[in-house]
Symmetry: none
Subunit: 244 residues, 2 copies
């Protein structure tokens, strides 16, 4: 049996822990597309035998990728590659956690939080009556003190009566109040940063940004969330996997 995974073998002579070396090499391999979405990785035992390390070490390396959401485990079955497109969703839910795992210090600055009359676009996309009200959240998303994105969210006031009480995670707040977003439709476009967005994002006006427009639906398939996220192109990079 040929040894296909030799490139992943950690170097015993280095001071870096074996499991960390392996987890990094594995992450690179996954990002390079060695395996496809939902495909099973080699088993922990395979890695331990082929790379000359113990099974628990191989397992611990995979623990890191598990926390990052790159892979998933099923007892008795195997370890599988997480489909790529799910990551943007979990990123928006767990912005804080995701960045922390990558060694950044995450934070956000509130720019606006309150109840307003809806705009025309919001009335249409959320299916509201023009006399109803919406809660609006606007904030800067930071990593290590650098602005990565500007995020503007609108919900019908019924789903978020007290926008002031939202902590760092809107999704956690919604979950706790029984209004989970279960499905989302994302439109990704490129736009030139307008003057005020550029100022908030800390870039020059006119620079290209990714604009992600999101409509979130609850379990009853009712649109309850509308979010525009302006992402700095030097920090964001969306990955999608396509199959026949």
């Amino acid at each position: 049996m040929e040894n296909r995974w030799l490139a992943l073998k950690p170097d015993e002579t280095l001071t870096t822990p074996l499991y960390l070396q392996l987890s990094r090499k594995l992450a690179d391999a996954i990002n390079a597309g060695w395996w496809q979405a939902d495909e099973a990785l080699p088993s922990e035992r395979t890695f331990s035998e082929e790379l000359g390390i113990s099974r628990v070490t191989a397992r611990k390396a995979m623990d890191v990728l598990l926390e990052q959401g790159l892979i998933r485990r099923r007892q008795g079955s195997g370890t599988f590659i997480t489909p790529r497109l799910e990551q943007p969703l979990s990123r928006l839910t767990g912005f804080t956690e995701q960045l922390r795992q990558r060694g950044f210090v995450p934070s956000s600055v509130w720019l606006e939080r309150g109840v307003f009359a809806p705009s025309n676009e919001e009335v249409i996309k959320l299916g509201l009556s023009p006399t109803s009200q919406v809660s609006r959240l606007k904030r800067q998303r930071l990593a290590d003190g650098v602005v990565m994105a500007i995020e503007m969210t609108t919900l019908p006031v019924a789903y978020l009566p007290e926008p002031q009480q939202v902590g760092t995670s809107l999704y956690a707040h919604l979950d706790a109040n029984g209004h989970s977003v279960v499905r989302a439709l994302q439109h990704i476009r490129a736009v030139n940063a307008s003057g005020d967005i550029a100022t908030l994002a800390g870039i020059r006006p006119g620079e290209a940004m990714l604009l992600i427009t999101r409509i979130g639906f609850n379990a009853e398939n009712i649109a309850i969330e509308l979010t525009d996220t302006y992402c700095r192109n030097d920090y964001y990079d969306f990955v999608a996997e396509l199959r026949r």
Copy 2:
């Protein structure tokens, strides 16, 4: 014992489950036209006897094809080939097919077609030797006569020896020559249009565009295609549906 289905026999010595081996070989046989539409396949018992496996194993292999919609079962009667037109649509399609489905008339203007020495980036991403050669295609993509995108594709020369002979659809050409792209990884970023790209796309320099970088893999999971597509933001809109 001479039997017609010996080519389908799974290899007991491999670690791949027997039923998976069989289901793949069966799928190949169906696509190769071994049976006609609505024709009955050999029975589960026939397979199990001729291939030296249990009936449930043969059945399980056929379960996979059933899920893919390749075959249909009728209790008491038999298992039948699904007519091609009812088979599920492929999700990985090229520019040409996508636009045609939306009712546009796609066309393209060749800007470059030939064989070149690879760049550093191409050597790494395609896993080439620096002395090898690549075929390169560069073209404007039009819909109803309007430029929508500028596309630059690179393939190892082995997979596209004669780039001059590519028609409007690269994917159709590759399919016809047995080098189908089965899976692709796409990175989506926002960029400001450079001078020459802007000229080709018919927009002003500095305008935001979507840059889609794609790595295409063949059935053996080897990277065979590298494509950069610069999309006009006023025509292109990348949509994704996410679920929890």
